[in-house]
């Protein structure tokens, strides 16, 4: 299995732990990835607000680069995943947009024939590798660790390609395959506030508080995320959002938990990147992490 890998800007910055653990999981599961050469920022949700057509063209450059290699793309960051998928859809559905994009790509020597598929790691792990195969490779089952799976918005809405929109379960299944106990989490697809927290601090706090409190109420030890921005929001502002006596809630990437279960090195599991430490919880559950 070989795929084109599109990390996205955040995975090189605040989302470093995501990339480190993701690459370790790829390696353990035998998934070969090739980073798209000289990929550019997808524009996230922001470029679309400024110049829609330019945004599609810039995102499409990455699609075309992967298509040239004949590989499907794995895009771990939820925003990148959505933008690339959206770009594909709009190019298909609106002839004017297609014209603009194809012409722009031609000018830099690239073609785009809608042959590349954009996949999320959850999709690849669950459907291409399979939960059984993953369980077989688990060396450190996460027994007793209660995890609330937080999907956020952009991998299930508006395009629900590999999971249910109202109640997705792909991450639930993968975490269960690693031996963890997945707690019910009705807010699993509720928005964390995205980039609003950075720009409008007063607003983001309420949203963050509900998410964390609800996870705690359902007995979660930690929340597993798929999006660098969700992880950032939930982790970095939880102290501000919560009531002062509330204990802290570690926020991890699901790949970190998978990497731990699959026996990756501490460097790859990347707990050192967390601001809210998860080690005390793991120690209490007697799950070795070093």
């Amino acid at each position: 299995m070989k795929y084109a890998y599109y990390p996205g800007c955040s995975l090189r910055g605040t989302g470093k732990a995501y990339e480190e653990s993701l690459l370790a999981v790829f390696q353990t599961l035998g998934i070969e990835v090739q980073e798209i050469d000289n990929w550019n920022c997808c524009g996230a949700t922001t470029y679309l607000s400024v110049d829609e057509l330019a945004s599609y063209a810039l995102a499409a450059r990455n699609l075309a680069l992967a298509e040239r290699e004949g590989l499907d793309i794995i895009a771990p960051c939820a925003a990148c995943y959505l933008v690339l998928n959206k770009t594909q859809h709009y190019i298909r559905d609106y002839p004017d947009i297609k014209t603009v994009v194809i012409r722009a790509l031609k000018k830099i020597g690239l073609d785009y024939a809608d042959r590349v598929r954009v996949r999320h790691p959850l999709d690849v792990f669950l459907n291409d590798v399979g939960a059984k195969a993953i369980t077989a490779k688990v060396v450190k089952p996460l027994k007793g660790l209660k995890v609330a799976p937080y999907y956020g918005c952009q991998i299930v809405r508006p395009y629900a390609t590999f999971d249910d929109q109202g109640n997705p379960t792909s991450m639930d299944k993968l975490l269960a395959a690693c031996g963890a106990t997945v707690v019910p989490y009705p807010l699993k697809t509720r928005c964390c506030g995205g980039s609003q927290k950075g720009t409008l601090p007063e607003i983001g706090l309420d949203l963050i508080r509900f998410l964390i409190e609800e996870a705690r109420r359902n007995g979660a030890d930690t929340i597993a995320t798929v999006c660098p921005l969700c992880q950032f929001n939930l982790e970095c502002f939880q102290a501000e959002a919560a009531e002062s006596t509330a204990p802290s809630m570690p926020i991890l990437y699901f790949t970190q938990l998978m990497a731990l279960a699959l026996g990756a090195s501490p460097g790859a599991v990347a707990f050192r990147r967390s601001l809210v430490k998860v080690e005390p919880v793991l120690a209490a559950k007697e799950i070795a992490y070093a």
Partner: protein, 196 residues
């Protein structure tokens, strides 16, 4: 007491704006909106908006341009897509929010020093300049243009992120950045040619 007229004459409407939003990408079904309010009810940010998403849709399709473009609503939208997915008339609300944002930026209609449009433009400028986003520098650029003292308030967080290796000082850049410039020029040219 400072009473203003709230009555709207037909002259206060902008028919071009109404027509634009019905014909722009995503606005095809805006006339089907029943004003049921499901979008506002499902929106996690609607509790802070001056005009709820439902109300904004109606204002827009009726052509009340100033109210629509000058609202906080379009900037508060995080594009979580819940409204669009749940809308019983299948109206592409999220895309319309993007369209309104784009138009507001173009026409420079937004609250002064409101951080979100500033962030949007800085984001795009950074992509045009280096091809990728370096989060740290993006935040600096936004704070410099909006509220410098906020940077001060974030210093503790900034330090923690730096210590855990999540704050890059060195800006990320791609090679062949000129390809992006070429793309942008081509888009502008085709846009003009197709008059879209």
């Amino acid at each position: 007491m400072g009473l203003d007229r709230t009555l709207k004459y037909e002259a206060d409407r902008d028919p071009e704006f109404a027509s634009w939003i019905s014909h722009t990408v995503g606005g095809e079904r805006i006339r089907h909106c029943l004003q049921c309010g499901l979008c506002s009810a499902s929106c996690p940010l609607s509790q802070y908006m001056d005009y709820t998403p439902r109300r904004l849709m109606h204002l827009s399709r009726e052509g009340f341009k100033q109210e629509a473009l000058g609202s906080y609503t379009i900037w508060l939208c995080t594009a979580c897509y819940r409204c669009m997915v749940e809308c019983p008339k299948k109206i592409n609300l999220t895309h319309l929010m993007y369209a309104l944002k784009e138009r507001a930026i173009k026409e420079r209609v937004y609250p002064k020093r409101f951080p979100i449009p500033v962030m949007a433009r800085q984001f795009c400028a950074m992509i045009r300049g280096s091809g990728r986003i370096t989060e740290s520098w993006l935040m600096v650029r936004v704070f410099l243009r909006t509220a410098i003292w906020r940077m001060f308030g974030m210093r503790s967080l900034g330090w923690k992120l730096f210590r855990t290796g999540r704050l890059n000082i060195k800006p990320d850049k791609i090679e062949r950045n000129d390809e992006l410039t070429t793309i942008l020029h081509s888009v502008a040219a085709t846009r003009k040619e197709l008059a879209i």
